[in-house]
Amino acid sequence: MTTASTHWMRLLRLMILGLGALLMLFPFFFMISTSFKPQSEVFSAGLSLIPQQWAIIANYSKAMTRIPMLQILANGLIVCASIVFFQILFALPCAYALAKLKFKGREFLFGLVLLGLLVPIHAISIPLYTTARYAGLLNTLAILVVPFTLSVFAIFLFRQFIKTIPDDLIMAARTDGLTELAIVWRIILPNAWPSASAFAIFSVVAHWNDLYWPLISVSKMHLATPPLGLLFFRAAEAGDDYGALMAATVLITAPLVLFFLFAQKLFIEGMTMTGLKG
């Protein structure tokens, strides 16, 4: 009796979860399916996931050639990698100071960090834009990176993690002759790897997909990041060529999905490998 009911409950649970997953994934299936269809079929009545006529080569070659797709992907890679690199470079020493060093005004500074968490990019985009204009940074790759190099979220996240590192470890490092910066890079960073990679996932996903800031600060095709490139592609070439547009979307989404799967594996490995707890 009980085993039968738990069996049914289990089945019900799985069905609900499966339905949810299908609902979430359907737009992606539809995107891939559309990217395989010729234009005539996209607009035909009725909904079929499997195309009757295949137009893979036509759609994807359009997506690759009408806009400089490789350049756009490279831009995305450069921008995201630089952002993550600088975010960690700046945030980790800040977080270390806020977590482990004693100085006057530390709590106040940490309060500012928390306050910074509340300010969205949209609120400061106009001052940022004018500053960038005067600095002559509009329409450069740099302007896509610079505003994001200091992440209060990263500072907050790393501070919370560094707080859990025992003081003894840091004191041992000091007596062993490490300077404070050496402690950050030689002791804290290797141990903070799980939280650093978790943060990297957040950051890369957010900035790879960001359309708002690139749209404001960049207007040249050769500087476009993936979402902006997609916008250019739609505006210029493929107003109603949804097959090609979806092909371009697939090309732009795929690296992110691959990165996510890879980083997730690293992330979990990092969690189990460090064994920070004695």
Binding site: D176, T274, G278
Partner: protein
């Protein structure tokens, strides 16, 4: 043996309103092993951190080899510290843990980088030298088999040895140890004690050793400094600390089981007696009204027959410890609990609630005034002489 001494001069430290250290003076001569012992919260770890340069005193100086190092960072003092939690770098192997302090001191920033660091002949040689020194230290501590393991793959005792190795390998000017054995199990602790003493002899480096375990302090150190409430009450050889304590707090902190205490008010007992019993020793020469007598358990002699100057007591129970036994006795005069050390045969021959008598040789009684200060009178001088002989 090196010639470097360590001197703490009038160290004071407060955290907010709480005074942690009040005017600590401590001199460790070259090669000396000093144990700082005291109950938890007495400030001994803070003192050690101040010596290491990990904390700053409000007043006072730290002198290393006669030089004032108070303003120097821990990294520049060249002392090695061993922590209770071992504080090994979890992401590095034992070998890398031990090599890191050497690398930080001997190699330039470029030479420490992976790959690039080994380009020049000179840096290759220094890397090789560090490796051979690590191997040598590992040899001494018998941890060669562990060198390529990470801390998470080691037991507590093994981590402890690696932590000792990390301190030993760089030949520091001083060793500072903060309860290094507290996290080990009892058998391993006793074994490692002897090894640390050996290592100290071999290195000949001045050592400050913080512990809450008085047995550890007495058995390992050349000198024991007893710290209570942020002050060093006494700093002397283990034998003197035990036999000739300068303060009641020292007498009652050191020694296990605790020293027996008997309080006497001479005003209410003008005839120098304790309740209805004559005092075991003459306190008339001590011009204090409130006196505490302290007697080590091994000096209480328990017998079935009454002797002059003996106290009647009731036998409560025996604590059997193997080679000896502790006898718990109750003096009904003021319900004082007394503990005496005895042979197991003697102890096991006693029956519950049996009436017994205890006596003490007069020269084995220690006297303290109401503030806990030691009282010495002329007729007690033989105690001191005997201790000097010991």
């Amino acid at each position: 043996m090196n010639t470097i001494s360590l001197h703490l001069d009038k160290i004071e430290k407060s955290y907010g309103q709480t005074r942690v250290l009040s005017g600590i003076d401590l001199t460790a001569k070259a090669g000396e092993f000093i144990a700082l012992v005291g109950p938890s919260g007495c400030g001994k770890s803070t003192l050690l951190r101040i010596a290491a340069g990990l904390d700053h005193p409000d007043h006072g100086r730290v002198l290393l080899n006669g030089q004032d190092v108070t303003g120097k960072r821990a990294a520049d003092r060249d002392m090695a510290m061993v922590f209770q939690s071992y504080a090994l770098y979890p992401h590095l192997t034992a070998r890398q843990n031990m090599a890191l302090p050497l690398a930080m001191r001997r190699l330039s920033v470029w030479e420490r980088l992976p790959l690039i660091g080994k380009i020049t002949e000179r840096s290759r040689l220094s890397h090789a030298a560090i490796q051979s020194e690590v191997e040598h230290a590992a040899d001494i501590l018998k941890i060669k088999a562990l060198l390529d393991r990470k801390p998470a793959q080691m037991s507590g005792g093994q981590r402890q040895r690696v932590a000792l190795g990390r301190a030993l390998v760089r030949h520091p000017k001083a060793f500072l140890m903060d309860e290094p054995l507290s996290n080990l199990d009892a058998a391993l602790r006793v074994h490692t004690r002897a090894e640390i003493v050996d290592l100290h002899k071999r290195a000949g480096v001045v050592t400050l050793y913080v512990t809450h375990d008085q047995e550890e302090a007495l058995s390992m150190a050349d000198k024991v400094a007893v710290m209570i409430r942020g002050q060093i009450m006494q700093c002397d050889t283990p034998a003197h600390i035990y036999n000739d304590p300068a303060h009641l707090d020292v007498a009652s902190f050191i020694g296990s089981p605790r020293i027996n205490l008997i309080h006497i008010n001479q005003k209410s007992n003008p005839k120098a007696q304790w309740y209805d019993y004559p005092l075991m020793a003459d306190t008339a020469g001590l011009a204090h009204s409130d006196i505490t007598m302290a007697i080590r358990p091994e000096h209480l002699m328990v017998s079935v027959e009454k002797t002059p100057m003996s106290l009647p007591v009731t036998f409560l129970r025996t604590e059997f410890l193997g080679s000896e036994a502790l006898i718990h006795l109750l003096f009904e005069g003021d319900n004082t609990l007394l503990i005496a050390r005895a042979t197991p045969q003697h102890a096991l021959s006693l029956t519950e609630r049996q009436k017994l008598f205890v006596s003490v040789p007069a020269n084995k009684i220690l006297y303290f005034d109401a503030e806990g200060k030691r009282l010495r009178s002329n007729h007690l001088s033989d105690v001191r002489d005997e201790n000097h002989a010991a």
